[in-house]
């Protein structure tokens, strides 16, 4: 237990200093969400609305910051090891790559919550968004469900992205499409039906729905529980897929020794 805790703290420390905390993260956590939120607010004003929907424009921006930060840190984790020549060394060490990657992704997800916290603070302190009606317990549980979903997706992407050097470009087809389909900045209901159907495969979508309902004051009910269940279920499937990918990564390094040459 003590050894695991030590590993956890050391890995988080290294991950924060080497990968997670950099200027690009600053862009993804704060600048991009601020711009997208501002566009949402100005569009709302231009359309003649008295006040913008803060849950979608401001807090949605925070969710987007979390997601973008995760995509650009986790997808580059194993690839950075490959580039820096540390991947084989990690695989050769007694601690499994899976365990290390799990801690790294946890660090990325945890650090990314700063974007959401900042968005909440902006909504409450600057725009006087009231949390009086919010179901805080449901909101916290929904957030945990979202974080778990993000963690599973992060571990999956880290392994998936190691397969090809084209992965740098694949990221371009992951960050925005998920934000687009999971309804970070607007309700899913405004999407065409076929897009809504695709969005149901993303665990964040379900967690986001319950988070928003909790913030807007909807009491915990069976539908909320069902959405949490769906989100956790999909997250677990994604995690299982990442285990398969993780095994393949190991085989490529240990059995065929070809990973660095891909």
């Amino acid at each position: 237990m003590k050894r695991n805790l030590s590993l956890f703290i050391r890995q988080m420390d290294v991950q924060l200093r080497m990968r997670t905390l950099n200027l690009y993260s600053l862009l993804l956590w704060f600048i991009q969400p601020i711009v997208f939120s501002a566009v949402g607010m100005i569009l709302s004003k231009a359309a003649g609305n008295a006040t913008p929907d803060l849950v979608y424009t401001v807090i949605g921006g925070g969710i987007m910051g979390m997601w973008s930060g995760l995509v650009f840190t986790s997808t580059y984790d194993i690839r950075s090891d490959r580039r820096e020549g540390t991947l084989e060394l990690i695989v050769g060490s007694p601690t499994s790559l899976r365990k290390i990657e799990s801690i790294r992704t946890f660090t990325n997800v945890a650090a990314g919550t700063i974007s959401l916290v900042a968005a909440f603070l902006v909504a409450v302190l600057i725009y006087k968004f009231s949390l009086a009606q919010a179901d805080i317990l449901s909101a916290i549980l929904s957030l945990l469900v979202i974080l778990f979903g993000l963690w599973c997706m992060g571990v999956f992407l880290a392994n998936l992205m190691v397969w090809s050097r084209l992965s740098t470009s694949i990221v371009e087809f992951i960050e925005m499409p998920v934000a687009l389909l999971a309804g970070f900045m607007y309700p899913i209901s405004i999407l065409p039906t076929w897009m809504q159907e695709i969005s149901s495969i993303f665990p964040i979508r379900w967690g986001l729905e319950t988070l928003r309902e909790a913030i807007q004051g909807t009491d915990l009910n069976e539908i909320t529980l069902a959405k949490w269940g769906i989100s956790i279920g999909i997250s677990l499937i994604i995690y299982l897929l990442s285990r398969l990918l993780d095994r393949r990564v190991h085989d490529l390094i240990r059995v065929t020794g070809e990973l660095s040459s891909i």
Binding site: I31, G40, E175
Partner: protein
Amino acid sequence: MRTVIRIVRLYFIQAWFSYRSLFAWSTPFNYFASKFGFPFFSMLLFMFMGKFAGFTDPTFIIIGNILLLPSLNGVSGISQTVGGERQFGALSYLLASPAPRAPLFLGRAFFHILDGLITLLVALPVAVFLLGMDISSINLGPVLVCVITLCITTNGIGFIMGTVTLLSRDGWMITSSLSIAFYMLIGVNFPVEHLPSFLQRVAYGLPMTRGIMAARLALSGARWNVIAPLIGGEIVVGLIYIIIGYASFRIVERASMRSGLLDTI
């Protein structure tokens, strides 16, 4: 005469090498993804944000995002090209070479202008066929002039950002932030008049703001006399940025030579 030929040759050699390392793409997929991935999906995101806000017609957002495409070349591309020289260790040799600076520096823009133009000319018909954009009243001549002007004027900021990239290893972060800020500042997703007054002043001080306004008017059938003042303003603003970009590059270059720091400045 020989000097002129040498300068022209140098300009096109620089342009060709710059093009071959454009965005450091190694396959057509990489090229396609870096050119259209983020811009296309962010355009869709803004379209749905607009729909959620209450706009039923997404044409304004579609046109704005398409007209923003050359900035990817002009701003990110050029600054990335200059930054790439440093990353790959070629900058010191470039700075120490006796080659004339104007073709060396400006040559980096040539294929970015062409590439930006081609991107726009591909994206506009795609928007018409896939997204149902209405161009029934288009005035083609002025549209072409607007598009070519936009592709050239965006390079000014690219040159300035290239110099910033020479000064700071985190220059690309400023470039990326600026590229994101364009979605809000230059009338891409909503008219500039909806910005707070101080941001409107910033917007009119940036290249592309007037060019995008002019292109929108031309797409809806406006004639030369309507768009001419906007295009004139766009050219003036763009030229100012190009001159500042070139001058700042020369200043930084001289400082690096004087101190002997070269690319570690």
